[in-house]
Amino acid sequence: MILGALYFFLPLLATFIFSLKAKLGTLSLLAYQQTFADQAFVYNFTYSVIWALSTIVVGILILAPTAYVIRLKVPKARTAVEFITLLPFVIPAVVLVFGLVRTFSQPPLLIVNSPIVLVAGYAVLSMPYMYRSIDTGLRSIDVRTLTEAGQSLGAGGARIMFDVILPNIRVAILSGSFLTFAIVVGEMVLAQYLSKPAFGPYMAYQMQEQAYEPAAMAIISFSLTWIALGIIQLVGRGGAQAQIGGGH
């Protein structure tokens, strides 16, 4: 166990120390300062956050109604839908982006340069986790009763979805959202091959150019992931299984 602890801990420690070495001769936060002052970093990182938020919204809009309809009305579709949500595990990111680029760089669907493809790609990558979170959340509430209550008060389908169901699975949605956030912000392959600004490709580029800023970026990225997963643990009362293999 000690060996394991060392193995896990040392690279992080080394990165952290490396990130403090920007100023010659002393340990300082210069690398962090330079990173945050770097326009390109702010630009790319902001875009990553934008992609992440968009992916989360798209994911919820598509998957929540789907999980709801399956649970309440069309249980027969469950196998098909679950199979589809597990397909992203079979498709490595680089193969997905290969397919996306080849498919959407020809008419009639010449949208390869639009952010739609990137966000859709991220939504595909995060689909297994988002769907599982939402489904788990729906499992823990009485969907039928809630729906009937809503209907008896005169609410229509969309109203029920947004005002009754979603608030009750807040925790599950938050859990899925933070997982998605961690995946998208750390992702590199899709953004690189779709030529979109993002943290991943920028950091890869900086690794060739600079010595200390990438280390600071690595620490920032790691901290963000930790925070995101920590929030999931807190919010999810330990129920969420926050294991991902995404973005590598």
Binding site: G4, Y68, F98, A182, M207
Partner: protein, 280 residues
């Protein structure tokens, strides 16, 4: 009834456009004899004839097998130590959370972390040099197959721990006691009780680890920028520019990857079914 299916439409349309359609593009592209009509097996054949592509598959498979077996073994030991080794609950849940974070700490930041540690200017190397022994003067380098394997292990171990933990939890205390009652020693317990129960889980998770490593791109890219010939990197460079000299071969290479992954997931699913028997 019909408005219910309508509720599923967004999902199916989304999956169609952005999952199934691109996949079919790859599938069709691998067999299409374009610009002539009709289909052909020549690109699939070319896969097996191209030493470059075949070599890339082989290296990817090698590193995936290595990190799956190594990661699986060591991860299992780690998990067992954490769960059965009498760790206080606070430490154990902290450890599990860390595993959750670590299994996601892959890609470019992970490459950077290991560069900070083990590159010629890395902290560990500097430390060792000060003590008189510089591994780089003795033939060690991070930027090779073995260096990459070490880096891959970083997300393989935690993944193994996270997935195998419920199975280890499922080893009931009563079984240990029962086997002791019947006079079995520790080795016999493992050989006849624990391992047979755990084996499907362990093997299944190792397969998952294999798939995880096989599809990895950003980590290798961040570490070596394409020096090591992995099939994921080959596909990536095919996308930036036709390095394989043939678009159909690019599609076929993707298809090959999908086949490998599909086989892996199928193996995992079958082993999962066997595991479930004992985890009730």
């Amino acid at each position: 009834m019909s408005w219910a299916w309508l509720g599923l439409m967004p999902f199916f349309i989304f999956a169609l456009f952005f999952l199934l359609y691109p996949s079919s593009t790859i599938f069709i592209g691998s067999f299409s004899n374009s610009p002539k009509p009709g289909f052909t097996f020549k690109y699939i054949l070319a896969l097996f004839q191209s030493r470059y592509v075949l070599g890339a598959y082989w290296i990817s498979i090698k590193i995936s097998l290595l990190t799956a077996l190594g990661g699986g073994l060591f991860g299992f030991l780690l998990a067992y130590a954490a769960i059965r080794g009498g760790l206080p609950t606070a430490l154990r849940s902290g450890f599990m959370t860390f595993c959750g974070v670590a299994s996601n700490f892959a890609g470019v930041p992970l490459a950077m972390a290991f560069i900070s540690l083990l590159s010629p200017q890395g902290l560990l190397i500097s430390l060792l040099s000060h003590l008189g022994f510089n591994p780089y003067y003795h033939g060690f380098t991070l930027y090779t197959f073995w260096g990459l394997s070490i880096v891959y292990m970083y997300f393989q171990f935690p993944l193994m721990v996270l997935i195998i933990a419920p199975a280890i939890d499922g080893l009931r205390r009563e079984w240990v006691e029962a086997s002791e009652n019947l006079g079995a020693n520790s080795f016999q317990y493992w050989r006849y009780v624990a391992l047979p129960i755990l084996l499907p889980s362990i093997l299944g998770t190792m397969i998952l680890l294999f798939g995880n490593s096989f599809g990895a791109f950003a980590t290798a890219w961040g570490l070596t920028g394409g020096l090591i010939n992995l099939i994921t990197l080959v596909v990536g460079s095919q996308l930036s520019g036709d390095v394989l000299g043939s678009a159909g071969l690019g599609y076929a290479a993707c298809l090959g990857m999908l086949v490998v992954m599909a086989l892996a997931i199928t193996g995992y699913t079958l082993l999962q079914r066997r595991t479930e028997r004992w985890l009730k």
